[in-house]
């Protein structure tokens, strides 16, 4: 198993998760990286990804896992980077014993919302202690409600913007909805912020593991 850590930045962040998967598959073909096929009636390459990124959100840390044991991590990294659109370049490649299953294990992500929030630092940071915070949003034409309070781990205002750690996976909280809810609460104008997923995290009780730390037990 090879775990490829890559970015998704710039215009390619407007490519949906399902389309990005096709981009990744084609990259493997171009790069001549062999991937084991599944054993079923319709064999397909065995690959896994981390949690889907909402459209328009950039990322500094995405994971793409492939069933490949015949190349070194370095060879995979080079071949991958020579064949991927520039917005999705790989940063690292790990050689692992088995699939770390990011989709199951990663339950929180850290996002940076770029912008100047310093003047609202106090008001925003206090919101993380809310016991209940119900928001309404449009989901495929119908209005839905969600209590986002239990899904927010932390909100912190720094010089670069707002850093938030929120639930990802199941249950899931979209970062753009949090920003929009904050704007609602503080009566700020709604606009499209530049949001970047900066870290994927595994949080159990009070123990916070970054994805790299979590990966250690899988690395060969």
């Amino acid at each position: 198993m090879k775990v490829i850590e890559h970015i998704k930045k710039g215009n390619i962040s407007y490519v949906s998760h399902i389309d990005s998967m096709r981009v990744l598959q084609r990259t493997l073909i171009r790069a001549n990286i062999n991937v084991k096929l599944s054993e079923g009636f319709n064999p397909h390459p065995v690959t896994y990804t981390s949690h889907p990124l909402p459209l328009g959100v950039e990322s500094e840390q995405e994971f793409f896992v492939i069933a490949n044991d015949d190349m070194s991590a370095e060879q995979v990294l080079n071949a991958f980077n020579n064949n991927i659109p520039s917005g999705m370049l790989a940063v690292k490649c790990y050689d692992c014993i088995k699939n770390p299953n990011f989709a199951k294990n990663v339950n929180y992500c850290e996002y940076l919302v770029k912008g100047n929030f310093l003047q609202y630092k106090k008001e925003i940071e206090i919101l993380q202690n809310e016991k209940s915070w119900v928001i309404k949003f449009d989901f495929k034409g119908t209005e839905k409600e969600q209590d986002i309070a239990p899904l927010i781990h932390s909100l912190k205002v720094v010089n670069k913007g707002l850093v938030m750690i929120i639930a990802t996976g199941n249950p899931n909280l979209r970062p753009d909805r949090v920003v929009s809810a904050i704007c609602d609460k503080l009566v700020l104008p709604q606009k499209a912020f530049n949001i970047v997923r900066t870290k994927q995290l595994v949080i159990n009780n009070d123990k916070i593991l970054t994805a790299e730390e979590f990966l250690q037990e899988y690395i060969k």
Binding site: G10, N11, I12, Y14, V15, S16, D19, S20, R22, V23, Q25, R26, T27, L28, I29, R30, L55, G56, N83, I84, P85, S86, G87, D176, K191, A192, N194
Partner: protein, 597 residues
């Protein structure tokens, strides 16, 4: 990218259509003196599938000092957002507004795209007519694509129109522009010089002389540009790989240009002559490079009639051995009914077999010169059934010259024949599914049928009704092409300069994306014709043989005399055999370049 645009992108469907970033994108930041933007007046998924745009985009970007970008028609949701937010239409590659380019080119694929040309210009803030752009710093607007066979309906929009093959005229036009720009030569002086190039039509210099509403001649003529040696001509092998799924999401090899069959309704057949092919070795190399550089798992062998490529068997074997390695599927469009061989078919799951007999009876097939016999049809069905096919898709045309009810009955008879034969030769227990599709005959310029009338709406509906009633058979589906849009297509395909008023009126009434059946609004088009004071029937009528036609100023190689003789042969039911290396039929195309060289 500014924040306003980011907000918009999150509100529209498939924002990836508008942002580029594909793999194999050429260097847009290289030092350059001339910037072009090639536009395709349809959405990204369709425009990116166009092989012409693909070739020219890479060809221009491979030239020193030239950068070429792309722009596609934003879908209605994006168009509305751009309008309300006052953002001018921009290129996909670098997000630069269209009005900031030196040259903006439109590839016009078919008649129902004309309103989309105006739609894109409107969004870009560029005035529609060339005469309205004389004062002001606008890009030079040019057009190309299959519709330039008769460019007259849109001629007055453009400063220049490329007639013929872009590898020749667009390349020379761009080089000349680059040189003139460096020397500080004015736009009008440059256009004057460009008029001397082969295949460059300057509508303000070459125009029809009209007396009493009839064309009596032209100020000068234009010779179609033709690539002389297709084998040595540029073909991109490191092509863009889109990040979203496009309509034809595959690598494409172009085997040859032109077609030797000479079906009398087919414009492409005559327009793309002389017949020139690529060598087997060249295609094998290009196929390998394409598959390696893109990662595509499908390679299409494209041409007007792929089964007529002389080394097709060797090409397929060669590609299967060296390129495919079991992972790449070969796709073969446009197989002729009589050329069907089971070895051409893929080894995977059997789909349905698609063929186009075009007419139901032998008599009518002789009239249109579709050289396949009842015997060919029977043999093909037999071998396909024995091979295990359980689906057939059949394409026909209705409203062809001399068509009678017996010819329509012939369509029904072919369907019944397949059903009968399936009982004898069918391998599968599943019943054979047959889909019949009919389109309406449209008399196209530069074909032997260019003088023919188009049947009127009532006749179309009656013929369709006959087929609906008679194809009401178990496991048979009948699809038909809308009568309304066929009329509009016919009007514009043989239109003249007066029709630009109609296009403008139609756009003002809200017509765009007319090629999408759900968006086509015939009532608005009727209104547009009324507003412009023009009768559709003036264009769908039968034309006199001695009339000067709006597109007669173009030297296409294929002569009017030849087309006329073919028309007469059609009425006599005489077929013209497909031409070949040693059997020239004398169409005249070889005056512009050697056939079968």
């Amino acid at each position: 990218m500014d924040n306003k645009l980011k907000e918009i992108l999150l509100k529209v469907e498939k924002p990836a259509r508008y942002v580029g970033g594909e793999f194999n994108m050429p260097d847009m930041n290289k030092p350059c003196s001339t910037r072009l933007c090639l536009c395709f007046p349809e959405i990204y998924e369709i425009g990116m599938s166009n092989i012409g745009v693909r070739i020219l985009y890479h060809l221009l970007n491979d030239m020193q000092g030239i950068v070429c970008e792309r722009c596609f028609a934003p879908f209605v949701d994006m168009g509305e957002q751009l309008k309300t937010n006052d953002i001018p239409l921009f290129s996909v590659d670098s997000g630069k507004p269209l009005s900031g380019f030196d040259i903006v080119g439109m590839s016009i694929g078919y008649e129902l795209l004309y309103t989309n040309v105006l739609y894109m210009l409107d969004l870009a803030g560029i005035p529609f007519r060339a005469k309205d752009r004389q004062n002001g710093n606008y890009p030079i607007l040019i057009a190309g694509g299959p519709c330039v066979v008769n460019p007259e309906p849109f001629a007055e929009i453009f400063d220049a129109i490329m007639i013929g093959e872009g590898e020749k005229n667009l390349k020379e036009f761009t080089l000349l522009y680059d040189e003139c720009k460096k020397q500080g030569i004015s736009k009008s002086e440059f256009l004057e010089k460009a008029a001397c190039l082969d295949g460059v039509y300057i509508p303000s210099k070459t125009y029809p002389v009209v007396k009493n509403g009839k064309i009596t001649g032209f100020t000068c003529s234009v010779k179609k540009a033709v690539v002389q040696d297709l084998d040595k001509e540029y073909f991109p092998t490191k092509i863009l790989v889109p990040n979203i799924e496009i309509t034809h999401d595959r690598a494409v090899l172009e085997l040859y240009r032109g077609c030797n069959n000479g079906c009398r309704f087919c414009q492409a057949c005559f327009y793309y002559r002389p017949i020139r092919s690529r060598r087997l070795q060249t295609l094998l190399e290009q196929g390998k490079q394409l598959v390696d550089s893109t990662g595509y798992s499908e390679l299409s062998l494209s041409s007007l009639s792929t089964s007529d490529y002389e080394s097709l068997h060797e090409l397929i074997c060669g590609l299967k051995a060296d390129v495919c390695n079991g992972n790449v599927r070969l796709a073969m469009p446009s197989l002729r009914l009589d050329s069907y061989k089971s070895e051409y078919m893929g080894s995977g799951r059997l789909g349905s077999l698609t063929f186009a007999p075009e007419a139901g009876s032998q008599r009518l097939r002789n009239v249109i010169n579709k050289n396949i016999t009842d015997e060919n049809i029977k043999n093909t069905i037999k071998s396909a059934l024995e091979y295990g096919y359980t689906g057939f898709k059949l394409y026909f045309m209705i409203g062809l010259p001399t068509e009678t009810i017996e010819d329509l009955q012939g369509i029904v008879d072919i369907v019944l024949l397949i059903k009968d034969m399936a009982k004898v030769y069918g391998k599968s227990k599943r019943p054979v599914q047959i889909t019949v599709s009919t389109s309406v005959f449209i008399p196209k310029p530069l074909t032997p049928f260019q003088w023919e009338r188009q049947i009127d709406e009532q006749e179309m509906l009656a013929k369709q009704r006959f087929l609906i009633d008679n194809l009401h058979i178990k496991n048979v589906r009948y699809n038909w092409h809308s009568a309304d849009s066929s009329i509009i297509e016919a009007v514009f395909s043989r239109g003249d300069r007066r029709l630009l008023d109609v296009i403008e009126q139609a756009y003002a009434l809200g017509c765009k994306f007319d090629g999408w059946s759900e968006r086509f609004d015939f009532d608005k088009w009727k209104q547009a014709f009324d507003n412009a004071g023009i009768n559709m029937s003036d264009y769908t009528r039968e034309w006199e043989e001695d009339e000067i036609l709006p597109w007669d100023f173009v030297e296409h190689g294929v002569t009017k005399k030849y087309l006329l003789s073919e028309k007469h042969k059609a009425y006599d039911g005489v077929v013209t055999k497909a031409c070949g290396k040693n059997s020239c039929t004398g169409c005249g195309a070889n005056k512009l370049g050697r056939c079968y060289s």
